[in-house]
């Protein structure tokens, strides 16, 4: 198996609720369940449009439940990190009294043997409610709603926003070409892969030529020069975000490696005041010594510290214009 890189991505969303979903979430803070009229039907949870005709629905809300009847269900023996309960529970479609559609939520029945189609359930409210679908802790067998411990919420402002936060851990394979490219930068080399069809050279261990769609393998590897010319630059005024260590404006340059068509983007330029950064500057790669390795920015390529001006006269090659990225 290939080595994989693990990364966990969080998805923290804030959503506006509007007049229909907002009304439902506000009702939850008051331990009420509401539906919306659509012709002869009452739809729960309320939605903005008729599910069959897509007609916009008037804000005609109806109290439903709080008890209801289980129409169908499943048993979750091993809850996930996203599930509302950490102990085994049921997910069920519950037809709340007075509703014509089914409401999806958890049922905390203790055991699969306590579950059956047609059973009666009622909500167990959270003590502190914020206007969120999880204000219902779960449904429980029986007719009477309950509240977890002491009831702390008092009806307040209408709820207009809700939060959602999920995290997913991904394991992405590291291809053999990427492994070899990373190894090269550890050793102070830039490894290129030259397309056998068009002759373009790629860095970063790309596995294929995106122009010709041919696979690139070790036989296409070339060692690239360590000198180049600045073809483009930007001065970045740092804003503070997690991981940002810069506090003063700093430059990032694009470097066109000599005798190749490779442009390395967003490289650090060393020992150069921002006012002196210019297109055409000649630069050379500086690699960290073994002793310096610990200080290298972990986001950098291997042990590349950055690029140092060589002092050579600036390039005036007009083709620099075509090498800005």
């Amino acid at each position: 198996m290939a080595r994989t890189v693990e990364s966990t991505i969080r998805f923290p969303y804030k959503r506006s609720l509007g007049p229909v979903l907002g009304a439902f979430m506000t009702a939850l803070t008051e331990k009420r369940l509401i539906g919306i009229r659509s012709g002869d039907r009452v739809i729960v949870p309320p939605i903005e449009w008729d599910p069959d005709t897509a007609a916009s629905l008037a804000l005609d809300f109806v109290d439903v439940g709080p008890a209801g009847t289980v129409q169908s269900w499943t048993w979750v023996a091993k809850p996930s990190s996203q599930h509302p309960l950490s102990e085994p529970f049921a997910f069920a479609l519950v037809k709340l009294d007075g509703a014509d559609t089914a409401f999806f939520h958890a049922v905390d029945a203790g055991s699969i043997d306590a579950m059956s189609t047609g059973m009666r359930v009622a909500p167990r409210w959270k003590a502190a409610r914020r206007g969120h679908i999880t204000d219902i802790d779960a449904f429980v067998p029986g007719e009477e709603p309950t509240v977890v411990a002491g009831d702390e919420s008092s009806p307040g402002e209408p709820v207009t926003m809700m939060e959602y936060d999920a995290a997913i851990t991904y394991n992405t394979p590291v291809t053999a070409n990427v492994e070899r490219s990373e190894q090269a930068t550890e050793e102070g080399r830039f490894l290129g892969l030259k397309c056998p069809v068009c002759g373009r050279t790629y860095t970063g261990g790309k596995g294929y030529c995106p122009v010709d769609a041919v696979e690139l393998t070790p036989e296409h590897e070339v060692d690239l020069p360590q000198r180049g010319t600045v073809t483009n630059y930007t001065i970045i005024t740092p804003v503070q975000y997690p991981g940002q260590t810069e506090t003063e404006p700093f430059s990032r340059v694009h470097v066109w490696l000599d005798d190749s068509d490779v442009v390395l983007g967003y490289q650090a330029l060393l020992d150069t005041p921002n006012a002196d950064v210019r297109i055409g500057m000649r630069v050379a790669a500086i690699w960290a010594s073994d002793a310096e390795k610990a200080d290298v920015d972990p986001r950098a390529e291997g042990n590349l510290v950055g690029w140092m001006p060589t002092g050579e006269p600036d390039s005036t090659d007009p083709d620099l214009l075509n090498r800005i990225c």
Partner: protein, 358 residues
């Protein structure tokens, strides 16, 4: 049928390729696509440069990367520039868009693809994020829990039983023995399957699709180019899709009205269907779909179907490739492919294929 029955606007499948279907591939999504695109254009006897329009089906949540479809374009060969599109749906819907694009008449050849590397993360955590963001996603409402709720509704309605579901799983895995791309194959005793514990009651492991990495690409062409390219074009004679409410609680889960609509719009019932390749990823979905599609007399999923390999985002397009294979390579006259999207068969697509005349 005779040749003049085909109009210039008729569109045919002229090539395809299906990747190996595995639990965990060393390849990136781009590499999987690179292979199936090469395979499909080779199968059609053309090169990437002959393709006028491309459309991909893939999912950023599955890939774990924003705009992951942009780097997938690398697999197409970016030069000469192509008209390109993407759907955050199964590749079967990418094929639908490509078909609609060719109907405009100004270009002749299109390629649709679908790809997914489901092993990258836990599907049980990914799919809740694609549910209703207000009422369902915050509960971690996963696709398998919804499937189980639908299974119980269908069982309670007397349309299927746990025994019959085990029979469906065993049949699919047995049929998949002849499918070189399949992931889960072999002979299984239904009694042993039924002795296994529930994953989500009433669903056991055999009722669920495997987690699969895979990709598929299909090339289509307008009549004149299709006839130039190949001996046996597989004509798309009907293509439609329809959808229902995204919230399963608003629906009758014992049937699939949107499948009925799509099948009617695609003309599925106009003549007998010999083989139906359907995206029944859970065993109980098969009887629902067979009834809704009206294909009770057809051979269903001779490839083994999604219960043998389920490359999310390509599973439906693989159904199209398998249904086309039945026509071009196995001599069938009229077959059907089905794809689905969303919880409890929310949205359904039907593609009717015919061989015979050029």
């Amino acid at each position: 049928m005779v040749a003049n029955e085909r109009s210039a606007d008729d569109i045919a499948i002229v090539g395809w390729s299906v990747s190996p279907m595995v639990r965990n591939t060393d390849k990136t999504e781009v590499q999987m696509l690179l292979e199936v695109i090469t395979g499909a254009v080779n199968d059609a006897g053309i090169t990437r440069a002959d393709v006028d329009f491309t459309c991909a089906g893939s999912c950023d949540y599955v890939a774990g990367q924003a705009f992951s479809f942009v780097q997938n374009i690398d697999a197409l060969g970016a030069w000469p520039p192509k008209r390109d599109s993407h759907v955050e749906m199964d590749g079967a819907w990418a094929l639908y868009e490509a078909w609609v694009r060719l109907l405009l008449g100004d270009i002749d050849v299109a390629l649709a693809m679908g790809s997914g590397r489901s092993s990258t993360a836990d599907p049980g955590l990914i799919y809740p994020m694609e549910m209703d963001p207000y009422y369902l996603a915050p509960l971690g409402a996963d696709a398998t829990s919804f499937a189980a709720i639908q299974a119980r509704a269908v069982i309670d309605a007397g349309k299927v039983s746990e025994d019959a579901m085990a029979e469906i799983a065993a049949r699919c895995r047995r049929d998949a023995k002849d499918n070189p791309h399949a992931q889960v194959t072999g002979d299984f005793d239904t009694k042993a399957l039924l002795a296994e514990p529930y994953v989500r009651a009433p669903l056991r492991k055999h009722d669920l699709p495997p987690i699969t990495d895979g990709a598929c690409a299909v090339v289509i062409a307008r009549r004149d180019r299709a006839i130039e390219m190949c001996e046996h074009p597989v004509w798309i004679t009907g293509f439609a899709h329809a959808t229902e409410s995204h919230n399963p609680g608003m629906r009758d889960l014992t049937g699939s009205p949107s499948t009925v609509l799509a099948a009617k719009a695609a003309g599925a019932g106009d003549a007998p269907i010999e083989v139906a390749e359907i995206q029944a990823a859970y065993t109980h979905e098969e009887p629902i779909l067979v009834e809704a599609l009206g294909v009770g007399d057809a051979v269903v999923n001779p490839s083994g179907g999604p219960l043998a390999a389920n490359p999310i985002m390509a599973t439906g397009l693989v159904r199209v490739a398998e249904a086309a294979r039945q026509v071009r390579d196995l001599g069938k006259h009229r077959t059907l492919a089905h794809s689905t999207s969303g919880p409890c068969l929310q949205q359904n697509l039907v593609c009717v294929l015919e061989g015979g005349s050029r």
